[in-house]
């Protein structure tokens, strides 16, 4: 029942054997070793596993890897390339938007999806865009400020 699929992950072609019930989240974490994507609930309610699928922010726990043959996935590891931080990563550090860090990868990717489609969002638009990404440490204050800082730059 296992099937070979091709994914373009963080700009690289990867081939993996997946079982039908395997989620994209498990494929990333366990087959590709990309443990930066986190599992907080496994049923699409916390956003910790957010990745970009063909540029759209999705919960990787809710899609089966087997359905994604030929598609493009960006994980948090893909934003840090050649020693350069993405502006959102830098803003999260500078604004103190990181506490326990468990929601951080998903939060940054959700924010990236927003800024890619709407480079100058309002505060309300930022809050709505990350409303599917729970954070329990920060009260979202510094996260929203970090995202708005990137839009202002």
């Amino acid at each position: 029942m296992r099937k070979l699929i091709k994914l373009r992950v963080n700009g690289q072609e990867r081939e993996i054997m997946v079982e039908p019930r395997q989620t994209l989240l498990d494929a990333l974490r366990y087959d590709l070793g990309l443990t930066g994507t986190k599992e907080g609930c496994g049923d699409g309610n916390c956003g910790s596993c957010t990745v970009l699928l063909d540029g759209q922010a999705i919960n990787s726990c809710l899609v089966f890897a087997i359905e994604l043959d030929g598609q493009e996935v960006t994980t948090i590891e893909g934003l840090y390339q050649g020693g350069n931080l993405h502006p959102l990563q830098q803003a999260f550090i500078d604004e103190g938007a990181v506490q326990c860090g468990f929601c951080t990868p998903g939060m940054i990717l959700a924010a990236k999806a927003l800024l890619d489609s709407n480079p100058y969002p309002t505060e309300a638009e930022v809050r709505l865009a990350i409303a599917g990404n729970l954070c329990r440490c920060t009260g979202y204050d510094k996260i929203v400020r970090a995202i708005l800082k990137v839009t202002a730059a």
Binding site: R29, Y30, L34, T35, G36, T37, K38, E39, G40, C41, G42, D43, N45, C46, S48, T75, I76, E77, L79, Y80, L85, Q89, F92, I93, D94, G96, V98, Q99, C100, G101, F102, C103, T104, P105, I108, V126, R127, L128, I130, A131, G132, N133, L134, C135, R136, C137, T138, G139, Y140, D141, K142, I143, V144, R145
Partner: protein
């Protein structure tokens, strides 16, 4: 205040880069060769006898490597020794809460482990559970523990009881105090069971080597507490268990206990392979220690000119089926924190901790204090209204200051309560009044006293003059960063030259659990002492080379220099280089050790502006401001982050979060149905840092993380009252409840002459 160069600065967190790049390793990220996956069979009943427990079919399933029950536990106590923490790990004859572990499985993958659980045959004889805390207090209630007598009574109880802890604080003559009052108000307030809501589910990886030594990677708030638990469970001496810390994805008190690590240890011992367990969110909700619900009846008396004369309170906390690890959270801190902010000459507070057949409660950010403050600060708001007095003016009039007596009878040291109220008043004066339909402003105050405990610190000086600080405290709130700031400050070196590591239980000096807002405070004395030790050793090398006395050198800019002659110096790098030579100079390691010291009183004042939609009952929090006496903020960004996070948790507790039980089983165990605030539910949270130095702590720090949640429940309730005229005395204040009350009115508040 002394001038600092690194203390008080907004340096970036030392762990931030690893976290924004996804490189930080949490428990679930640990993968070992040949690893097995564990799963737990939890009791589906709140109260039942186990008639038959048969694991033979599960053991026979292909891919299953071990199945364990209580019969396999080497260190387990007998059932009659209830309550003991071991009962939380695997139960023997009886289950006393839904979510109690009955058996555990290790298999080659998680799917087979799950299948194996379904093959375990358990015949339960369901017994009547007692779920409601007030029912549980009645003399004829079913007993959660058959041989548990109320502790801390003046005389021993005649028979066993679900009330396992009684506490009384009193002073003066309460009846006389109420007679002296012009207004006396009595109300009952209830808070619900809530959850910590940490984003990272509990996880552990455990490997037992051929010698029988156990190595644990897990997300506990204390590596030494976890070592003790695993050792006790496995019946091993402490040097046979090593706990290696990992990053922790949120804790808030909820990771100060463990189930999965002991079970993994036993499964690994049985199989000779590493075993990993990662809980599902449903398991976290149903089996991990939620937050004690409460029923608090409070009577307050006040004179016409706004002076409190007397208070009496009965506080009941629902602890579920067991109290916590180490017995610390048996103490209902709310019983003395709630009324501590005010000078009340006559008071009587009686407090009861009660067992019910629900998952055992655990500590949550200022445990039991927010519940008490919800009652006290709601009542203070009602009294201010009755007196037609500004709510902050009323509190200021009764606020404690240095020398006043705490509820516990000891005098307050220097506190910044009045300063914090004044700071908030200035802020509100600048901001102006809130005017408009359906809008309301709420104010509340809170008290909490961060603790401190035993801890050590080692500092190793590297051959290039950089240093490494080794501590045993797990970083749950940014303490690696604040401790590194202290080292940089004390040694006069750049912040970047300090690395901080939480060692494992064999390489790091002991540290108290990372809880109680106490790590920065508990580690500050040993870190300072270790720095002094390093400086002494470096001075002895530098002074002869500089041709001066020991007392004439100072540390600044990464150098040892002559006081008054900064051009005469030796760099730390030059002093330390010899360590790496062969034959070399002796290494330089500083050591600091400290036991705990006095509690530091912290006061918080919070204000919320809300809008209540009278058609739907929905509350929108328009703005929120928290003012807190922090003593001194080692890193203001981190302090603000703690305050903002606590406020968001408080808003969730007040408005939407609620564990709903049916026969003791949580019914809404998902993050969809258990509604925590999202970014769209909370506003920016303004923070006002008041710095009234606490002289007993290094740098004057008071501890930060827990206090800001304390006033938040009442702040929101008081704001809703302002907006709607409706007083809510039970949480959560959902749209349904609010709408119902707006339509049907009827406050249960009793105003007495």
């Amino acid at each position: 205040m002394p001038e600092y160069s690194v203390i008080g600065k907004r340096v970036n967190r030392v762990d931030a880069l690893a976290k924004v790049t996804g490189k930080a390793l949490y428990g679930a990220d640990i993968i070992l060769p040949n690893m097995l996956y564990g799963k737990v069979l939890w009791s589906p009943y709140a109260h039942a006898k186990i008639r038959i427990l048969d694991v033979s079919k599960a053991r026979a399933l292909e891919g299953v490597k071990a199945v364990i029950t209580a019969a396999d536990v080497p260190g387990q106590k007998k059932e009659e020794e209830y309550p003991n923490p071991m009962t939380c790990c695997l139960t023997r004859e009886k289950v006393i809460f839904a979510g109690q572990p009955v058996a555990a499985v290790a298999a080659i993958n998680p799917h087979i482990a799950e299948e194996a659980l379904e093959l375990i045959e358990v015949d339960y004889e369901e017994l009547t559970p007692v779920i409601d805390v007030l029912e549980a207090m009645k003399p004829d209630a079913p007993l959660v523990h058959l041989n548990s007598y109320t502790q801390n009574l003046p005389t021993k109880d005649a028979k066993p009881s679900n009330i396992f802890w009684y506490m009384k604080n009193s002073r003066g003559d309460v009846e006389a105090g109420f007679r002296e009052a012009d207004i006396v108000l009595e109300n009952t307030f209830r808070t619900q069971t809530v959850n910590h809501g940490y984003l990272e589910p509990r996880a552990a990886v455990v490997s037992v080597d051929p010698e029988g030594k156990v190595t644990v990677w897990s997300d506990n708030q204390g590596i030494f507490e976890l070592r003790e638990l695993v050792a006790e469970f496995m019946n091993l001496p402490l040097n046979y268990v090593k706990v290696i810390p990992v990053e922790i994805g949120g804790a808030f008190g909820g990771k100060s206990h463990q189930v999965v690590s002991p079970l993994c240890a036993l499964l690994s011992q049985k199989t000779g392979r590493p075993v990993k367990m990662v809980m599902t969110r449903e398991e976290v909700f149903k089996t991990q220690r939620p937050v004690a619900a409460s029923v608090i009846t409070l009577k307050l008396g006040v004179t016409k000119d706004g002076r409190l004369t007397a208070a009496s309170a009965t506080m009941v906390y629902d602890y579920g089926a067991l109290y916590g690890m180490g017995g610390m959270d048996i103490v209902p801190f709310g019983s003395f924190s709630g009324l501590n902010p005010y000078r009340i000459p006559n008071l009587k507070i009686e407090c009861y901790d009660v067992y019910t057949h629900k998952a055992p409660s655990g500590p949550y950010r200022a445990p039991t204090a927010a519940q008490a403050a919800f009652a006290v600060e709601s009542q203070m708001d009602l009294l201010a209204r009755a007196l037609e007095m500004d709510p902050l003016e009323f509190r200021l009039k009764n606020a404690v200051a240095e020398g006043d007596t705490m509820v516990t009878g000891t005098p307050f040291p220097k506190v910044g309560f009045k300063e914090t109220i004044e700071r908030m008043r200035q802020y509100l004066a600048q901001r102006g009044n809130l005017e408009g339909e359906n809008l309301g402003r709420g104010v509340a105050c809170g008290f909490w006293a961060p603790a401190s405990g035993a801890a050590g610190a080692n500092i190793n000086v590297n051959a290039d003059g950089t240093v490494a600080l080794v501590v045993g405290s797990v970083d749950v709130s940014g303490t690696r960063t604040t401790l590194a700031q202290m080292v940089a400050e004390e040694l006069g070196i750049p912040f970047e030259n300090v690395s901080v590591v939480t060692g494992d239980t064999e390489t790091a000096p002991f540290s108290v659990l990372s809880a109680g807002s106490m790590i920065t405070r508990s580690l500050a004395p040993p870190v300072r002492q270790a720095c002094q030790d390093v400086k002494d050793q470096l001075s002895q090398r530098a002074a002869p080379q500089l041709g001066v006395d020991l007392k004439d050198v100072e540390f600044a800019h990464g150098r040892v220099q002559v006081k008054g002659m900064p051009e005469k110096y030796i760099s730390l790098a030059d002093l330390a280089r010899g360590i790496a030579h062969f034959p070399g100079e002796s290494p330089i390691t500083g050591r600091g050790l400290n036991k705990g010291f006095q509690l530091s009183p912290v006061f918080v004042v919070e204000v919320a502006d809300v809008e209540v939609d009278k058609e739907t009952g929905k509350v929108k929090v328009l703005s929120y401001t928290a003012a807190q006496d922090v003593g001194l903020a080692i890193n203001p960004t981190l302090v603000e982050g703690q305050m903002q996070g606590a406020v968001a948790q408080g808003i969730g507790w007040a408005l939407s979060e609620n564990s709903i039980f049916h026969r003791g089983v949580m019914q809404n165990a998902t993050l969809l149905d258990y509604r925590m605030p999202t970014a769209a539910d909370v506003p920016f949270v303004d923070t006002l840092l008041v710095e009234v130095s606490f002289d007993a702590s290094p740098f004057g720090i008071r501890g930060v993380g827990e206090p800001p949640i304390v006033p938040s429940l009442a702040t929101i309730a008081n704001a809703i009252h302002s907006a709607t005229g409706v007083r809510l005395q039970e949480l959560p204040m959902t749209p349904e409840v609010i709408l119902n009350r707006i339509k049907h009115g009827a406050s249960s508040s009793r105003l007495m002459p």
